[in-house]
Each structure stands twice: as C-alpha cells, then as structure tokens.
C-alpha cells in the first residue's frame, strides 16, 4: 500500500484492557477500496475497528483518518460525518419499526430535513432489500434481517469510511453474496474495512487483507499474497497425516493437510487464503 496517499493511517497504536493487551503497537494504512481484517476471537479486531470508528481511544500511538486527528474534538466530529459504522454487537430499539430506526440513525448522522431523511432511508432499504419490511417492528425480525438492518444504517449518508465489524455474521449464503454485490456497487469509492471469520469473503471481495494475531499485524497485503504464505505446504492425500498442523477430509473424500512436511503419497495442491491464514496462525502459536 502507498504510505503517502493512505486515507487512513494507524501508527504504533496500543490499547490495553486491564492486564490484557488488545493491540500491541499496531501500524497499518488503508486506501480506498475494501480491506478485510482476519483474525481469531480476541485478536484485537473489534478494538482496532472501534478506534477507527472514533468510539475508542488508543492508550498510545496515533490515528489519522482522511488527514484528520480523532483526538481533536472538531476533527473527530468531521470524521464521524464521513463515517458509517456497524459495531459487532449492535443493539436496537426493539419497539421501533425498521423505517423508524433508520430515521433515528439518520438524525444522529445530522440529516435533519424530513424529506431528505425519508429519501435516504428509502435508498438504503432498497440497497439492502428490506423495503417490504419498512413497517415491521425490529423485535419481529430474524437475526439475519437485523444484521441487514445494521448494514443499512451504516450506509446512511453515503459514508467515505465504512467500518463493518463482522457484517456477514448471521447472513445466509445468498445474503452474503448480495452483501458482496452491495459493497462492490457502492458509489464514491469509499474506504471500507471489514472484519470477518470468513476467509472466502476476503478472497471474494477484498483486494487488501490484514491478519491480526494477538494484537499485532502479522500480514498486510493481497489475498493471493496471504495464500502464498502457505505455498508448498498444502497437500492432498488418501490418508490422514497426524503430523500436519491441521488436516480435514474434504467433500471428495480426500484428506487436506496443512503442514511443512508432506504426508506419504501426498499431492501438493494450490493454497487458499484460508490455508495462508492457518499457517500464519500456527507460526504465531495461536490455536
């Protein structure tokens, strides 16, 4: 990534919660386009995203978003004007209807004109395919629909920076595909950073991927670069090899092994993003 033109820059950011170090001198840059954040639970993804969304402060280090410093009150508000944020655990006013909730969030985003708000709410409802549910109370929605509503509220106001914490959690396969399409069609080429446990989401839509392990950035690059981290270490065999870091039986009945030693009669296969991630996790001692 080009350091000079980076839209978002994170320099040596650390954050602790008591004795737990959530982020340890994290440094990264984000450009326009989609960046995927991969990491196991507790790796610091949510903390990093909440700092980018200006709702959390680092203990040390510096963050710059579009050249603005979130430590300054006025600049923080300016960042928030250009931000769409989906927290990991978004709460809802369950007695609100879908349309009323989006209307409420639109007001928080300073869209105070009634007609413009209605147009904006209609736009995001159409984008996320929830028009038919505009009158439905949130408490009557399924988990997947609530997640879509969460994504819809993040899109209000056409944000320049979209911070999405596990946006595909709870979505069925078709909705996940629609979500990918939605992100690809967003106008204005915003900076999008999303965390996920789904390596195939990363491979499908993210030109850039960052792997966060135990509060540290262990990889930043392209999905193919991440896959290459497992190059020459992924094998396919008829039998299980207990010496592999990880092995599982695929749909074709053959065993897939990720490890640095080939099992007997094994065939070397092309690694995936998931394989690369597994190798990085193993190298870092994360299980």
């Amino acid at each position: 990534m080009n350091e000079d033109t980076a839209a978002v820059r994170v320099d040596c950011v650390s954050r602790r919660y008591g004795a737990t170090r959530a982020l340890d001198e994290v440094g990264l840059t984000l450009e326009r386009g989609i960046t995927g954040l991969l990491g196991p639970n507790g790796a610091g993804k949510t903390t990093l995203l909440s700092i980018l969304a200006t709702v959390n402060e680092p203990d040390a280090g510096r963050v710059s978003v579009f050249g603005l410093d979130p430590r300054d009150g006025a600049e923080r508000v300016e960042i928030r004007r250009r931000l769409g944020y989906l927290p990991q655990e978004l709460g809802y006013h369950r007695h609100f209807t879908v349309a009323a909730f989006l209307d409420y969030v639109a007001i928080l985003k300073e869209i105070t004109d009634r007609h413009r708000r209605a147009e904006e709410v209609a736009r995001v409802l159409a984008a996320i395919g929830l028009e038919r549910y505009a009158r439905k109370r949130i408490r009557a929605l399924s988990g997947g629909m609530r997640q879509r509503l969460g994504i819809a509220q993040a899109l209000l106001g056409n944000p320049d920076l979209l911070v999405l914490d596990e946006p595909t959690a709870g979505l069925d396969p078709e909705q996940r595909l629609r979500f990918r399409e939605l992100l690809s069609d967003l106008p204005g080429d915003p900076v999008i950073v999303l965390s996920t446990h789904q390596a195939d989401d990363i491979a499908a839509i993210c030109p850039n991927v960052i792997v966060l392990l135990e509060g540290q950035v262990r990889f930043a690059g392209s999905p193919s670069g991440l896959a290459a981290a497992a190059g020459g270490q992924v094998w396919s065999a008829d039998d299980r090899d207990h010496g592999a870091h990880l092995s599982w039986r695929g749909g074709d009945g053959r065993w897939r092994h990720v490890g640095d030693r080939p099992p007997a009669d094994a065939e070397l296969v092309a690694p995936t993003v998931e394989d690369g991630y597994l190798m990085l996790s193993h190298a870092a001692g994360v299980r």
Binding site: S50, A53, T54, V55, E57, G73, R76, V77, E78, R80, R81, L83, Y85, P87, L90, G91, Y92, H93, R94, H95, F96, T97, V98, A99, A100, F101, D103, Y104, V105, I107, L108, K109, E110, T112, R114, H115, R117, A118, E119, V121, A122, R123, L125, A126, E131, A134, R135, Q153
Partner: protein, 303 residues
C-alpha cells in the same frame, strides 16, 4: 389556492388551448414559479391531453424515489398526538424523533412513575387528612408530622433523578455505539433527553405535591432539589461511570434527607430555605462543571 393571473392563464392555454410543451417540461423539472405552476395544475386537472403530454417529461426515477420516500414516511408515522402537538408548538420534528428512543418518556415508564407517586402521596394524604389512623397534623404550625410526608419527600426527587438517569445511561440506549459514533452532538442529545425526562417526571411529582397536606409552597419547593440532583448526576458522569454518578447523586439526596427527617423537629426541613439554598448551590456548581467538562460527552458518555 388563489386564482391564476390572466397572464399566467394565457401562457397555460397556449396553442389550441393546451399548455406549451416547453412549459410542461419546466413544470416537470420543478422550475415553474408559484402562480404559473398553479395555472398549469388547474389546467392539467381538466385536460387529459396535457396530462398525457406531461408524462413524457417526468423523470421516472425521480418519481420512484419520491414514491419510496412517501412510503417510508408513512412507515415511520407522525409520532402520535403528543408529537403533533409539540410540532405545533414549534419543536423540530427531528428532536421529537430523538426523544422517541428515551425510555423514561415511554408510556410504561411514565405510568410506573405515576403509580409510585400515587402510592406515596396517597398514603401521606390519607394519614394527613385523617382518613386512616396515623396521626393527623402532629407537627407544629398545623403542618403534618414530618413522618407523614417523609416517604413522598424522599421518593419524588429520586423518581425525577431515575427518569433523567434512564435518559443518559448507556445501559438504557441499545444503539449506544451508533449514537457515540454519530456526528450529532453528544452533549446536545444528552441534554435534550435529560430535560425532556426531567419535565416528564417533574410534572406528576409537582401535581402530587398539590394534593398533600402541608404548606402551599411544597410543590414549588420540590423543584430545586430535583433539578440539583439531576444536574449533579450529569456533572458527576463527566468524572465517573454514569451509573455510579446516578447512584452517588441518589445517595447524596436520600441519606441527608432521611437524617433530617428522622432527627429534626423543624417541619419539612428539607424544603426550608437553608436546604433550598444548598440545593441551589449544588445546581449552579453542577451546571458550571457540566459546561466546562462537556467535551467528555463527545467521545462517548461511557468513558
């Protein structure tokens, strides 16, 4: 609607008594001024041919957007009678929408407050007026004994505080993180909600005070302690966890008030001038602290 001017009517009824095509195009774009637009509309209601011609100039995407926006507005609703009334009084629509998310302004909460007030005030009134045994007007100067009014005097300001606390405590705002990450001023949101919750709880408390036996200034005397408690809780929330701030403010009221009522012979000591002066001092000091430290609410009022 006023009658169109003859000049306007002349432009509308152009060749063959129909509206000119370029005028219809301008009208469809919204570029026609008031009187002329009315003339076009008056003509369109009576002329199918011009209506048909107009449809060729209408941006179908814009129509679809408007239709969707109208459907959304219908789905959002107008907020009911109370919202309509407040809108008529000049309260902006978006502020009313923000208040809809305040738990202490919901019907269930307000009914609970009224219920608690009815119990404590009803009991005090029943004893004070001698409807049930318990000692009528045992205090000096014809006032009821402090013990009669004690539950009400203790509880009423605490109920007001609870309403305000529910309006700003993160635990009562499910969409807290969205509110924090939004550009809308945290202090403004907080104050709008706090003032509304304060008003909503204060009105039934003051009304209940009117039915109680005791001095006529009792309802007015409840105002300062209630305001001071709420301001203290908000100011304390800029230093400590908001829940702790609300508990501290509540304890700072309940403990001295209970002590005064239990030990002093001065009737209604907590609403006498020295107590009122202390409340006024707390209110002013808290307001100053709140103003000076208002930035603490911008980052998220949980921190």
């Amino acid at each position: 609607m006023t009658s169109p001017s003859p000049g306007a009517a002349g432009q509308v009824g152009g060749s063959g008594g129909h509206t000119a095509d370029d005028l219809l195009a301008s009208y469809a774009d919204g570029a026609v001024d008031g009187v002329l637009a009315w003339s076009v509309e008056a003509h369109l209601t009576a002329c199918a041919q011009c209506r048909s011609a107009l449809s060729a100039h209408v941006d179908s995407e814009r129509l679809a957007r408007n239709r969707s926006a109208l459907l959304v507005r219908a789905a959002i609703g107008d907020g009911g009678r109370a919202h309509r009334m407040l809108r008529c009084c000049g309260v902006p629509d978006y502020l009313l929408r923000l208040l809809a998310a305040t738990p202490s302004l919901r019907r269930s909460w307000l009914l609970s407050v009224i219920g608690v007030l009815a119990v404590v005030a009803g009991e005090a009134a029943a004893v004070g007026y001698g409807w049930i045994p318990g000692g009528r007007s045992a205090g000096p100067a014809g006032y009821p004994a402090p013990a009669v009014l004690a539950p009400f005097l203790l509880v009423a300001p605490l109920l007001v505080l609870a309403g305000v606390a529910a309006a700003f405590l993160p635990m009562f705002e499910p969409a807290y993180w969205l509110a924090v990450a939004a550009p809308f001023s945290g202090v403004r949101l907080l104050l709008v909600r706090a003032v509304s919750a304060l008003t909503a709880a204060l009105v039934p408390a003051v009304c209940a005070a009117f039915v109680l036996p005791g001095p006529g200034w009792l309802p007015a005397a409840l105002l300062l302690p209630s305001l001071a408690l709420c301001a203290l809780a908000l100011a304390a929330a800029t230093f400590v966890d908001p829940s702790a701030a609300a508990v501290i403010a509540g304890a700072l009221w309940a403990l001295p008030a209970a002590l005064l009522l239990a030990t002093t012979n001065v009737p209604l000591a907590i609403v006498q001038w020295h107590s009122q002066s202390a409340c006024a001092a707390v209110l002013i000091a808290s307001a100053v602290v709140l103003f000076v430290r208002r930035d603490r609410f911008q980052l998220g009022w949980m921190r």
